[in-house]
Each structure stands twice: as structure tokens, then as C-alpha cells.
């Protein structure tokens, strides 16, 4: 089912006003400078923050409509949401975290196999690395069979090597997902690597020219040092 949203919200320094849509199995990546409203958008899609006005529709289900005073609770939207951190419950081990809202425990086992964290099932979140925690958080989100997957800078707190590994795992997983995926990042390489569509969000609006202004192609010789999978980019601010 297609997600389409169009909303506005008055924030402290600007008015957030944007529209987006995403098809099943596709990943729309929101990118832009910090404080531009990306997380607010994802929170509004999740139902954690109410827009001032607008409409969010998922398939034929209206999740939010200011004109009709509809605001479907997050509980009713059946989402997967991976936060930058704090997605996992500290009092539960990794397996119980992932199985918290899962439809089947067997599936959680399979996801743990897929993400190579089966050996950590009994560990609490504080006993594993940041990368392992985020792998578990993704398992938790997927085990719920989400209708929409929201990833809010899920790898930004991780070191470069772990981030790159997880990014690749996510890319290979993407082909198997049948729901729309909205991904927030401030890493341009990540955006280009993962996105089916890139939505640059600047001061609460989609600013397609932002990418052009921010990126220039890098000469070929630097590419080998970066690794073949990295997009060949450099940033100019």
C-alpha cells in the first residue's frame, strides 16, 4: 500500500510544510542539515507528533486528517520504527526485545540468524555493542510485520566500519521488504547508497536543489581508497 502524506507544522524557527509518498518495497531517504525537520516528519508519520494541518493516508486508510479531526494512534498504525538509540528495553534481553511485539518467535529466531546475532539472544542491551543493538532493533521492528518501516538515523551513533556493514545488510534486506521504508540520515553516501528516492529536507521544506549545491563528483582516482561500494562523492559546503 502506498503511503502519502502532506502536512504542515509550526516549529520554533520555521514552518514545516512538505509532501511525500512512498511505494511498497521502496525506500525514500530524507536527508538534510540537522534541525531541518526530518525527525519531526518521521514522528508525524508515526503518530507521535500531531501535525498542525494536513493529511496522512496509507493505502485507503486515513491516519491523519486535520479537516476531519482524525489522528490514528501509533499503536493502531502497525509500524516499525528504529530510533537512533533507545529503541530497546533495558530490562529485557535481546531476544525478548525483538519478540516484544512479534507475531511468531520462530520468525524472530530467523531474523536473528539473518542479522548474525543469534549468539547474543540472552544478553541485555547494555551488554552488547551499538551495532548489535541496532541489529536487534531492526529485528524488533521487522518481527512485527510493519506496514511502514521508519528508520531515524539508525546508524549515526555507530563507528564507520559498523555503519558501512549495517548499511549493506539493510540494502540486501530492502529487496525482501514489502512495505514502504522512510529513512532519515544526514550522511549523503548512505542516502545515495540506499535510496530509491532522495528527499532533501531543509528548513521544513523539500529542497531538491540542496543536493546539487552540496555535492560535486569526485575525480576517479580517489575512489579506490574509499572502496568500490562507496559512492564517489565529496562534499563542498
Amino acid at each position: 500500500m502506498i503511503l502519502s502524506a502532506s502536512f504542515s507544522k509550526r516549529l520554533k524557527y520555521f514552518n514545516l510544510e512538505l509532501s511525500l509518498s512512498c511505494r511498497p518495497g521502496k525506500m525514500a531517504v530524507m536527508i538534510g542539515p540537522s534541525g531541518g525537520g526530518k525527525t519531526t516528519v518521521i514522528r508525524m508519520l508515526a503518530g507521535l507528533t500531531a501535525p498542525d494541518a494536513g493529511r496522512v493516508v496509507f493505502g485507503d486508510e486515513v491516519w491523519f486528517d486535520s479537516a476531519r479531526n482524525i489522528h490514528l494512534k501509533p499503536q493502531k498504525r502497525r509500524l516499525g520504527y528504529v530510533f537512533q538509540d533507545y529503541s530497546l528495553f533495558p530490562h529485557l534481553n535481546l531476544f525478548d526485545n525483538a519478540a516484544f511485539a512479534a507475531e511468531s518467535k520462530k520468525e524472530v529466531e530467523e531474523l536473528f540468524e539473518l542479522f548474525k546475532i543469534s549468539h547474543l539472544k540472552k544478553r541485555r542491551p547494555h551488554m552488547v555493542s551499538g551495532g548489535e543493538r541496532q541489529r536487534c532493533a531492526i529485528c524488533q521492528a521487522l518481527a512485527r510485520h510493519p506496514r511502514l518501516l521508519l528508520l531515524d538515523e539508525p546508524f549515526s551513533a555507530l563507528d564507520v566500519v559498523t555503519r558501512r556493514g549495517l548499511r549493506e545488510e539493510l540494502k540486501s534486506l530492502k529487496g525482501r521488504l514489502s512495505c514502504p521504508v522512510i529513512y532519515v540520515t544526514h550522511d549523503i553516501h548512505e542516502a545515495l547508497f540506499l535510496a530509491d528516492e532522495i528527499l532533501p529536507v531543509v528548513d521544513g521544506r523539500i529542497d531538491r536543489g540542496w543536493m546539487q549545491r552540496t555535492i560535486t563528483r569526485e575525480p576517479g582516482e580517489g575512489a579506490a581508497a574509499r572502496g568500490a561500494r562507496e559512492p564517489r562523492l565529496s562534499l563542498v559546503y
Binding site: L48, P74, Q75, Y86, F89, A101
Partner: protein, 219 residues
Amino acid sequence: MDYLALYVTLKLALATTIVLMILAAPVAYLLAYARFPGKSLVEALIYLPMALPPTVIGFYLIILMGPRGWAGRVWEAATGGSLLFTFLGITIASVIYSIPFAVQPMKAAFSRIDRRLLESAYILGLSKRAAFLRVIIPNSVSGIAAAAVLVFLHSIGAFGVLLMVGGSVPGETKVASIAIYEAVEMMNYEAAGLIALSFIPISYAFLLLVNRLNARAGA
């Protein structure tokens, strides 16, 4: 040694602790998370027993639970008995007297929980009530335990409010603190000293426990 008074004291402290753990948890939750008009006034009212002299609380409870008070009248109509000078009466008094000591640490423990954990629970489909039971409570165990120990200790030490509401009925309302007072009144320092001495290791051990729990909750 007046073992009966010690028994009543421990029974009262236990009953107060159990009742307050159940009653104070939702109140502390509302104070930690809910927004409503007059919240600060309600909060101050809940903490009022901490700021009032115990005899003032005792006085109003006598008015309330006495034969002319509404609680006393309702109870008498329902059971034919009186609330004053009964174990139930002093339990009610003790609960009211100790409310702040249950609500305050629990509220602090609930407030320490990261909001994003709750949001995560809502995203995973949990209602607010389910999130309270499955996320807030298990992550506030140290704070809840600290509240329980504080309430228990505070109930053990209650005197004025219990004397006014319950008097000194042996086996029913005569708690250890009243037994000490009466023994001193009768110049029986040996009996008073024995009961008094029994308080010190218990209270000291419980206080050490509270400090440990508070340190864990804050970690």
C-alpha cells in the same frame, strides 16, 4: 518486652506498605506523565501530610472517621462498628500519613525513564496501561523498592497520628512507639529501652537498603 506491640507495629507497617504500593503507583504515574489543570495544586495536596504535624492529621482523621464524620457514618452503617480505635482505622491513618513517602520516590523513578522507551512501546502496539505495566514498572524496580522501604520505616515510626486515631488497645492499635511512650510514663525504663533498642538495627538496615536502592535507581 511487649512482643504484641511489636507484632502490631510490623503488621501495620506491612499493611500500609502493600496498600500504598498499589495506590501510589497510578498516582505517581499521573504526576510524572499527565498534564492537567491544577496539577501542582494536586501534587502539593498529596505531599501535605509530610508538612503537617501528625496531631493535625490525627485531628482531622478523628473528625472524618468519628461517629459524626462521613467516613465513620458510612462505615458504621455498613458494618455496625467504628473506625476509631481499630486496626483498620490506624491502617487508614498510617496510609494517609505515609502517602508522600510512597508517591515521591515512585514519581522520581517514573520520571527518570526515557520518554523514547515509552514511544517505542506505543509504536510496538502497547496501550498506555500496558506500557505502564510492561515498561515503566520493570524499569523502576529500584525506585519502587525504595518507596516501599521508606513507607515501611515511616509507618514503624508513626506515633501521634496513631495515638489520636487508635488510642492504645493492646493487640489492636497499641504499636511499639505507643508502648515505649506508655512505659516511660510509668517510669519503666527497662521495658521502654528494650523496645527502643529493637528499632535501631531494623531502621539502620532498612536505611542502608534505601541508600543502595537510590544509588541503583540513579545509576
